[in-house]
Amino acid sequence: MPLLSVADLHTHFQTPRGLLRAVDGVSLAIEEGESVGLVGESGCGKSTLGKTILRLVNPTSGSVAFDGDDIAKVPSDALGPYRRRAQMIFQDPFSSLNPRHTIERILTAPLYVHGIGDRAERKRRVREMIERVGLPLSSLSRYPHEFSGGQRQRIGIARALILGPDLVICDEPVSALDLSIQAQILNLLVEMKRDFNLSYLFISHDLSVIRYFADRVLVMYLGRVVEEGTGADLWARPLHPYTRALIAAIPDPARRRQAAPIGGDIASPEDIPRGCRFHPRCAIATSICAKVDPMLEAHAPGQRAACHHAGQLTRPPEA
């Protein structure tokens, strides 16, 4: 049984401009100890999906099964045990730490709130964790603004791991950092995964980061997963034209010719196109694409795509 199993999850928001379908029917599973990458353009609902899984946002419908319990249906005041087991690492290390609290306070409070250990035990755990993420003990008495972005992200990781979670959702954890620091933080996340036997849902818009990090990759477009497969398969043989466009958009010095960019902008999640939601931007779309919404189906072993013309490189003749 997978650690996390999300089925037909919808998260909709009522906005003045209409119903915003940020997450619109997502199903995914994360096995224990697995790293799943979630990639997609800004505004495709990646972050909302992560927050819905953690119940920081309430789902409209669907289920989030974590170790057998449907988290989507647990009353919000009974989420305590789940909070201990599922945590989040944030994108912006500057706004994710309370500027008025010392690092010691930031790391001790979760233990205190969950009633873990006595004073001495909490102190010991906090000291252990801060050294584990590569910061000196003297950091504990400092305030967040005294640290660099990379150091703050280490503190953010320490805070996410202090309760000993099984699942960690990393929401673009390195995209706010300098390139030289990104590798350090990614390495730290890999180390932590190994040492604490974590499962990751790794959200990023950067395919090269995802490729480095994830065992399995989900490609998300306008609130839905359009392709799923192992990193190697997706890279070698993308089935969905959107995945192919994303991969082609990575600058590559080995490839002389620049890839054709994806035409147009991502549609508004308040006004999702009928039929296949990618068809207005798709190079191989045919008349069926404007009418029938394709389901996520297996087209190769371990690789699924939601496309009527999965794997085809050119526009097929109209039937």
Partner: protein, 295 residues
């Protein structure tokens, strides 16, 4: 970098928020003068029973003694022969007590209401905003007069009355701060860590909302002192206590013949209120990191 341990900057006391604010505050000369003046007024208020052990409402000399006429009564005497200097010293007690107590009560109510409205949003916010609007659309001084007239005019009722007309200002301010702060990632993180609402409101968010509340509080003390003076001037003050406002009210009828009876307590009110407003301005600059780093 080969080792996992990163270099952490050496201790920088000057980068600590509270110290930086205090230094920025002390660099402002008008703030220092205003603070010294308020410390002086506070000391006088505390020491009033030592300076003038006699009841300031008792008649101690002949009426209409001008300031400087008799060294024993440096600020002269009023229409009934009461010592103006003693009244001024004892009056500072009432002004400060009511000013600070009304501020404390009003700020407390304002924080609770504003925090609940801003943090929870939705229907709670709608209901509390209506409540604030009811208070804010009523002319506050008229409401204060009605409140004090219904209750007996005593220090306690005046304090509560002033608090009841000032809390909406703080509530609106706190609500706006909470609405923007609750969207910050550190608040999302706190929810994700399973912190309770009270902990998030008072321990995570409130410390970040304090600077504008502190600034507004100093101005509220000033306006509370003015309101108390205005009430006392109209004869709605505590009849058993002398206050600056009641001294002005008593001197009003002899304004043309003995103007010093209104001028002396008037100057005391002006200076105190001015000092509090200057401190408010200085705090605003000192607690705003962007402004103070530009100095």
């Amino acid at each position: 970098m080969t080792t996992a341990t990163e270099r952490v900057p050496e201790a920088m006391p000057e980068s600590d928020g509270a110290w930086r604010s205090l230094r920025a505050f002390l660099r402002n000369p008008s703030a220092v003068i205003a603070s010294l003046f308020l410390v002086f007024v506070t000391l006088v208020a505390i020491a009033a029973p030592l300076i003038y052990p006699e009841d300031p409402l008792s008649m101690v000399t002949r009426p209409f003694l001008w300031p400087g006429q008799n060294p024993q009564f440096p600020l002269g005497s009023d229409t009934l022969g009461r010592d103006v200097a003693a009244g001024l010293v004892w009056g500072s007690r009432i002004s400060l007590i009511i000013g600070i107590a009304a501020m404390a009560l009003g700020v407390t109510i304002g924080i609770v209401v504003g925090a609940a409205a801003g943090y929870f949003g939705g229907r709670i916010d709608d209901a509390l905003v209506r409540l604030v609007e009811i208070f804010q659309t009523t002319p506050s001084f008229l409401m204060l007069i009605v409140l004090v007239a219904i209750a007996e005019p005593r220090v306690e009722s005046i304090t509560v009355g002033i608090a009841l007309v000032t809390w909406p200002t703080i509530a609106r301010l706190v609500r706006a701060e909470f609405r923007s702060l609750r969207e910050k990632d550190f608040v999302t993180a706190a929810r994700g860590l399973g912190y309770g609402h009270l902990r998030i409101i008072f321990i995570e968010i409130l410390p970040n909302a304090l600077p504008p509340i502190i600034v507004t509080s100093s101005v509220i003390v000033a306006s509370a002192i003015l309101m108390e003076s205005a009430l006392a001037f109209m004869g709605l003050g505590d009849p058993n206590r002398i206050s600056w406002g009641s001294m002005i009210g008593a001197g009003r009828e002899t304004l043309r013949t003995a103007w010093y009876l209104t001028a002396v307590p008037g100057v005391a009110i002006v200076l105190t209120v001015l000092a509090l407003n200057m401190i408010g301005d200085a705090l605003n600059d000192a607690l705003n990191p962007r402004l103070s780093s530009e100095r």
